[in-house]
């Protein structure tokens, strides 16, 4: 459906504007097909499916490099909200913090219905398993809570912020970590567009200057919301990367079967065949790894941290390799702007830096599976 709704030439044409996002495609996906609320319980206005189903959507988004805020809004922000204690308490209707709970529930309903889009206001490179130890280690401190409860500070490289209605902001209060919702167009909020390597997922630098904010969670609740958002995001980014890799392989194989040089289809040259075969094998592995991560976050499996670090360590690399090979398999045409290969290359390389690099995730694995560093 995405390849039809959002074909490469349309994506490319929009990329040449300041606004790559196509609201019609996003509305169809988020609202009409109900993808925005896939993992949100029905009670909270969602489809009551799971992150497993959302992972399938993420894969399709990757496959078509569709410029939609699915990963950032329907996965990361939504997962963060679902993990905010208020979400659970709203469900149980015995909230200790009625206002926060109400805000979370209302926001989730809006997001699930596709009426609003929220993104988590953290650098897109943030890793879900920070190297530090202890609860709250790595909680961002670049935004502070003013005495009057407003927010002041900056966050750089926030993905999809330019089309968000709501920013979910981890901020540091005097009492410690806290978690807020801020209207993206509110007074005191400035979003500066960043020239992004990935043309289909733009970044913004955000400045808060005493911006009004609704507090959604505090302390451990805030830490938990942030960690869950990033963890589910990293798990499902692996599926998006799988989709990118698969699309690159498909495109390459199709080209190898139609392009002739020296009177032969180039797909008959064994060196290219073997590289395509190796790529296929790597993608088959990426699929197993990405699916496992999605199942783990869907089921809140105790193996989730390992599964997610593994998925990011593996799928990042495979997607980049697939996109790089795609350019090379296509030769000159793959180096042109008019061919979609570069959209995938830019998405793949950016995604490999998003939510932690492969090396960061390998380091996290070292901690998780007891393979400690030297010294």
């Amino acid at each position: 459906m995405l390849a039809d709704r959002s074909p490469h030439n349309a994506v490319l044409a929009r990329c040449e504007t300041d606004e790559p996002y196509d609201p019609a495609v996003w509305k169809a996906l988020a609202a009409d097909l109900g993808c925005a609320g896939l993992a949100v319980p029905e009670k909270l206005g969602g489809a009551g499916a799971s992150w497993r189903e959302a992972a399938v959507v993420a894969e399709e988004v990757g496959r078509a490099v569709t410029p939609v805020p699915f990963l950032t809004g329907s996965v990361i922000a939504t997962a963060a909200l679902l993990a905010a204690p208020a979400s659970a308490s709203a469900d149980r209707a015995d909230s200790a913090d009625g206002a926060g709970a109400e805000s979370v529930a209302a926001l989730l309903a809006d997001l699930a219905a596709g009426h609003a889009t929220a993104v988590l206001a953290v650098p897109f490179s943030s890793c879900p398993t920070p190297a530090g130890s202890g609860s709250g280690a790595g909680f961002p401190e670049t935004v502070r809570v003013d005495a009057d409860g407003h927010l002041t500070g900056t966050v750089t490289s926030v993905a999809d912020a330019s089309i968000a209605d709501v920013l979910l902001v981890p901020a540091m209060a005097a009492s410690g970590p806290a978690f807020f919702a801020v209207g993206a167009r509110a007074a005191g909020v400035t979003r500066d567009a960043v020239i992004s390597l990935d043309l289909t997922r733009r970044l913004s630098d955000i400045t808060f200057a005493s911006a009004p904010a609704r507090r959604l969670a505090d302390a451990d609740g805030a830490v938990q919301a942030l960690a869950r958002g990033l963890t589910v995001g990293a798990a499902l980014l692996a599926s998006e990367q799988l989709g990118v890799a698969q699309a690159c392989l498909d495109m390459s194989v199709a080209y190898l079967k139609t392009r002739s040089q020296f009177g032969r289809l180039i797909g008959s040259y064994q060196a290219l065949k073997h590289r395509a075969a190796d790529l296929w094998a790597a993608i088959a592995q990426a699929r197993a790894v990405a699916r496992y991560a999605a199942v783990c976050v869907a089921q809140d499996d105790p193996d989730t941290p390992v599964a997610v670090a593994l998925a990011q360590a593996y799928c990042s690399t495979v997607a980049v390799r697939a996109a790089e090979e795609c350019v090379q398999f296509h030769g000159g045409i793959g180096f042109t702007w008019e061919h979609p290969a570069h959209l995938y290359l830019k998405r793949a390389k950016s995604a490999s830096l998003a939510l932690g690099t492969a090396a960061q995730h390998r380091a996290a694995l070292g901690r998780l599976v007891n393979l400690p560093p030297a010294n």
Partner: protein, 398 residues
């Protein structure tokens, strides 16, 4: 019904008091050997998945098994081929002692000049009495990479019965008596100093026509059944996390902090990641195989297994440094050939792992052939240009 049969077997032949062979024969005769085989041939025509129920119940009751590793070639390759292509008489003669392990099987396929290009093989089989359609066959040639040949009673064998037609069309599949005259088995010493495999020299070895499997000239088609099952078998069984060679290295890393370096840490975790990815993939593959049959996905699993075993074992030597310069055993005392029948990666030294892993990308289909299979059968890329398709075998460059 299955549980009743199991109970009846155990009641009739209490494992504690029944001799091993007697129990195995009784198990075969009660259809509990391989339940998906036909009734009367050790099976019940039941779904393959039910085998697990039988195996677990009998193991729990303390029943002996048929030492599946020792008779793996018979179970994994000969049996499905005999079932698919054998006559009723052949099935009845061969399958029971094959399964009980009374008769060990080996495979006489590869030749020095026919490795990847198996269909180019040169071992020839000619009728003793050319005009007679029931005549014995006289077989001459050299086979190689034959494991278990020195213990085997029977071999599955492909030989050329017509050199005047293109190579795939002139082959015939036989069952060869390894104890007959004209069959000589010599150990083939390998890179590790041991001889897991053999060379087999056939010098006018005699095979009755009743031991031909499938029609004359249909050997290639029959062999496909064998080969598909071989690749799946090599793809490996279910592994726990860190179950393979990576586990050996991970344990060394944990137990010997003095080996750790900053540079090696990321490499170790990269290899761990790849090993775990391969393991999860193999798990998915097995779930899919439960539904369908063996496919090219098995080729990918074997490809990954070979590459990883080689990378990890090479890394292990780097990690060990000085210790990596030392080897555990060349059997140098007498230089008599060791004849291992299994490959034990975990039970030997790092140097052995490194050397033995080199065979993983050669044996049972080279990695190059596996990549061709994936490229052509999965991705549908054009086949290699074949210069040997329509040429009589005798006219090919050998």
């Amino acid at each position: 019904m299955l549980n009743e049969r199991i109970k009846a077997l155990l009641d009739g032949h209490p494992p504690a008091s029944t001799p091993r062979l007697e129990f195995l024969r009784a198990r075969f005769d009660s259809g509990l050997a391989w339940v998906h085989f036909p009734a009367g041939l050790g099976g019940l025509d039941a779904p393959r998945e039910q085998q697990r129920i039988v195996d677990e119940a009998l193991a729990a009751a303390g029943a002996p098994d048929n030492d599946p590793h020792r008779i793996g070639i018979g179970l994994g390759m000969a049996a499905p081929t005999i079932l698919a292509h054998g006559t009723d008489e052949q099935r009845r003669r061969f399958l029971r002692p094959l399964w009980t392990g009374e008769e060990v099987w080996c495979q006489l396929f590869s030749e020095p000049g026919a490795g990847s290009d198996l269909a180019g093989l040169a071992t020839k089989a000619v009728r003793e009495n050319p005009g007679d359609e029931a005549s014995d066959w006289i077989v001459t040639g050299q086979k190689v990479w034959t494991s278990m040949a020195h213990e085997a009673r029977w071999a599955i064998l492909i030989a050329r019965t017509d050199p005047n037609v293109p190579k795939h069309k002139g082959l015939t599949y036989f069952v060869c008596d390894m104890t007959g005259p004209g069959v000589e088995v010599r150990p083939l010493r390998q890179i590790t100093g041991e001889a897991e495999f053999n060379e087999v020299f056939l010098t006018a070895a005699r095979i009755p026509d009743a031991h031909r499997l499938g029609p004359v000239g249909a050997g290639w088609a029959v062999a496909q059944t064998t080969l598909m099952n071989e690749r799946v078998a090599i793809g490996g069984g279910a592994q726990p996390r860190e179950g393979g060679v990576i586990g050996v290295v991970a344990r060394a890393w944990r137990e010997r902090p003095e080996l750790r370096t900053a540079a090696a840490h990321d490499t170790l975790l990269d290899l761990w990641t790849q090993a775990e990815a391969a393991r999860l993939t193999a798990t998915r593959l097995r779930q899919q195989l439960a539904a369908g049959g063996p496919g090219p996905e098995g080729s990918a699993a074997k490809l990954a297994f070979a590459r990883l075993n080689q990378e990890i074992s090479g890394f292990e030597l780097d990690l060990l440094g000085e210790q990596g310069l030392r080897y555990d055993d060349w059997s140098t005392g007498s230089w008599a050939s060791e004849r291992p029948t299994t490959v034990d990666f975990a039970g030997r030294g790092a140097g052995y792992r490194y050397l033995r892993a080199k065979g993983n990308s050669i044996e049972g289909g080279t990695s190059e052939i596996l990549r061709n299979i994936i490229a052509e059968r999965v991705l549908g890329l054009p086949p290699e240009i074949r210069v040997d398709k329509d040429v009589p075998w005798k006219d090919l460059a050998q």
